[in-house]
């Protein structure tokens, strides 16, 4: 199936979801972007250049690793992991960002703006901007700036300006609003590098296209390494870009089950989560440029969301998944904060892998289901990012006493230097 074939339906719609809901002033900009994207997608050289860039700059193809210890310990399916954590900047975000960087060159624009939640997308965008010589401004909620200093540190040192957004909940959705406000003013020379497969058309399709490199590689690698396709593929879902990236390659393989793992936060009924499809709390709405399931009240104002993983802490889900959920093509589960911490410990100890808190959500669901599967069955997990760069967040999540002592000592040292 080609979900991006709109010839039978409305351009930019996946079932009833998607579309373009933007102020009129951006109409021409979105049209220009769509035309440029269509040209890129139709040009085989563009994709070749993109792949070559990702090979030389980001270490692609990323490998697939067989987790023999974890598989043995769980006693069920054989678990394999696609290692997007080994990308430059430490996550799959760089795939989309480098692709949009090439596209931005074609557009002839010299300034890029981006929103970021956890800071991974901002970090990747700042990296790309440094490499391509673009001016770069990153919008980040003030709450996220406060809790993600390491990523802010790198963004600023890479030459980007980081703007702490003080509106609303001061998190990802507010950063998106602020990036939109910049764009409606500066669209003439600025490209908006949206970080996930959400927002107005063509962003869901465009981000999915750049991320599809994950799945194309993984499918071939699984065939080469195991001689067949996996039975189930797991990925975490915030906006949904890494999951779209790996799932797309298996859309035509009816025997491969696709499972998205959302942020269960404090669990069902807590209203402190970001599970749009796995739980029943979200309803269809229109915000941030597109129609999808949002965590909102009955009047359409957005609810607060929560996750231990800032990168999954978002009110909406990409419109493609809303549609594939309706069709039963992708199954959605949720992993709670507590389960994530347990799975992270287990994965570190048994395999020496440190998945990002976001990616660990996919591990939680896979670890739950692997023991119920046969030993000859195969699981593939997308490890979308690495956790070691999130040491502050993970140390907090694991409540590590020695780390706190270290930080206190460091603080004392800085205080002494200032006196």
């Amino acid at each position: 199936m080609d979900i991006f074939d709109f010839s039978d339906g409305r351009e930019g719609y996946y079932g009833e979801y998607g579309g373009v809901f933007l102020p009129e002033i951006l109409h021409a900009t979105i049209e220009e972007l769509l035309v440029c994207f269509r040209e890129c997608k139709a040009d085989p050289k563009f994709w070749q250049d993109y792949v070559a860039l990702m090979q030389s700059y980001s270490g692609r193809p990323t490998p697939v690793t067989h987790l023999e210890n974890l598989s043995r310990k769980l006693g069920g399916a054989q678990i394999y992991v696609k290692r997007e954590d080994l990308n430059h900047t430490g996550s799959h975000k760089v795939n989309n960002v480098m692709g949009q960087g090439l596209l931005c060159q074609r557009l002839g624009k010299r300034k890029v703006i981006a929103e970021t939640g956890a800071g991974q997308h901002g970090f990747a965008t700042a990296t790309m901007a440094a490499r391509f010589g673009f001016d770069c401004k990153i919008y980040m909620g003030a709450v996220d700036v406060a809790r993600q200093r390491p990523n802010v540190f790198w963004m600023e040192n890479l030459g980007a300006e980081v703007v702490a957004v003080q509106d609303g909940q001061k998190t990802l959705k507010d950063a998106i609003n602020e990036a939109m406000r910049d764009w409606v003013t500066n669209m003439a020379d600025t490209h908006y590098i949206l970080g996930t497969a959400c927002g107005p058309h063509p962003f869901p399709e465009m981000v999915s296209w750049f991320q599809s490199i994950i799945g194309f590689e993984a499918r071939e690698q699984m065939l080469a390494q195991t001689g067949r396709l996996p039975d189930r593929v797991y990925a975490c879902v915030g906006g949904g870009s890494n999951a779209m990236g790996i799932f797309q390659a298996f859309f035509d393989d009816d025997n491969v089950e696709l499972i998205g793992s959302e942020a269960g936060g404090q669990g069902v009924g807590s209203y402190m989560h970001a599970a749009r499809l796995a739980y029943d709390d979200a309803t269809v709405g229109v915000a941030q440029g597109f129609k999808t399931y949002f965590l909102q009240n009955e009047e359409g104002n957005m609810n607060e969301t929560h996750s231990v993983a800032a990168g999954l802490d978002y009110i909406g889900v990409n419109p493609i998944f809303a549609h594939l959920h309706d069709k039963g093509k992708v199954r959605f589960e949720a992993a709670t904060d507590i389960e994530v911490k347990e799975a992270l410990r287990l994965t570190m100890r048994t395999e020496g892998l440190i998945p990002a808190l976001e990616s660990t959500h996919a591990f939680v669901t896979a670890i739950k289901e692997a023991p119920t599967m046969g030993k000859d069955e195969i699981i593939l997990i997308n490890q979308s990012g690495r956790g070691d760069k999130d040491i502050f967040t993970i140390a907090d999540a694991l409540d590590d006493a020695k780390w706190k002592t270290f930080i206190n000592g460091k603080a004392d040292q800085y205080r002494a230097e200032n006196n």
């Binding site: 933007l22 009129e24 900009t29 998106i176 406000r181 500066n186 709405g285 909102q296 359409g300 104002n301």
Partner: protein, 212 residues
């Protein structure tokens, strides 16, 4: 009275009509009512009542803050319609609903049009609802005698202006500059760009509003 005939009536006595804006429930509905009293005394002709929304992405900092404070104070859509009803019964100016499409989408387009009509509103401005998505709402509005206010912008091509002009009724909202509401208001180069929009619009619409 329908918007267009109301404007024609008002235009008989003055050269320039004035439209003002209030964010419902900010800082309070009592304060809003006092603001409207002042506007009525000053002879304002139209007032936009903004229904607060949690993601006002076309608004600038002042409006974003007003939306946020109003929602924090517990303002509901019902409160806004009630306020509109009181205001429409009391003042000589006409009222437009201004807000974001999700407010309309969640209550249903048919319900929205009915409630707006019942509250005495004559039209609505939904900056994040493009004409491509408006067919049903425009049809329902026409049946009810409510006007959808279309925005034309400095970036709209001639082809686009023609498209927008074709579905415009009541009045056309000409966005005079790029950017969000309520910030950087000066009569710079961007504003002069509105001349082009205006000249190509004026043939199609009887009334244009400039958004500075």
């Amino acid at each position: 009275m329908a918007l267009q005939s109301f404007l024609a009536e008002r235009k008989k006595d003055k050269d320039l009509l004035v439209m003002a804006h209030v964010v419902c429930g900010y800082p309070s509905f009592e304060a809003n009512m006092q603001e409207l009293e002042i506007m009525a005394e000053a002879g304002v002709d139209l007032v936009e009542l903004q229904f607060p929304f949690s993601e006002p992405s076309a608004d600038g900092p002042l409006f974003v803050n007003a939306n946020e404070q109003s929602l924090k104070a517990g303002t509901t859509v019902e409160d806004c319609f009630e306020f509109m009803q009181q205001a429409s019964e009391r003042f000589p100016f006409q009222l437009l609903m201004m807000g974001y499409y999700n407010t309309v989408f969640k209550m249903g387009e048919e319900t929205f049009v009915k409630r707006l009509k019942a509250a005495g509103g004559v039209g609505y401005i939904l900056p994040d609802l493009p004409v491509e998505e408006s067919a049903n709402l425009h049809r329902l509005s026409e049946e009810a005698g409510i006007e959808p206010i279309i925005l034309m912008t400095p970036t709209s091509s001639d082809k686009r202006l023609a498209q927008l002009g074709a579905v415009s009724r009541g009045l056309v909202y000409v966005v005079a500059r790029k950017g969000v509401t309520g910030s950087k208001t000066n009569m710079g180069d961007d504003v002069s760009g509105a001349d082009r929009t205006l000249s190509s619009t004026y043939r199609r619409a009887d009334w244009c509003w400039l958004w500075y």
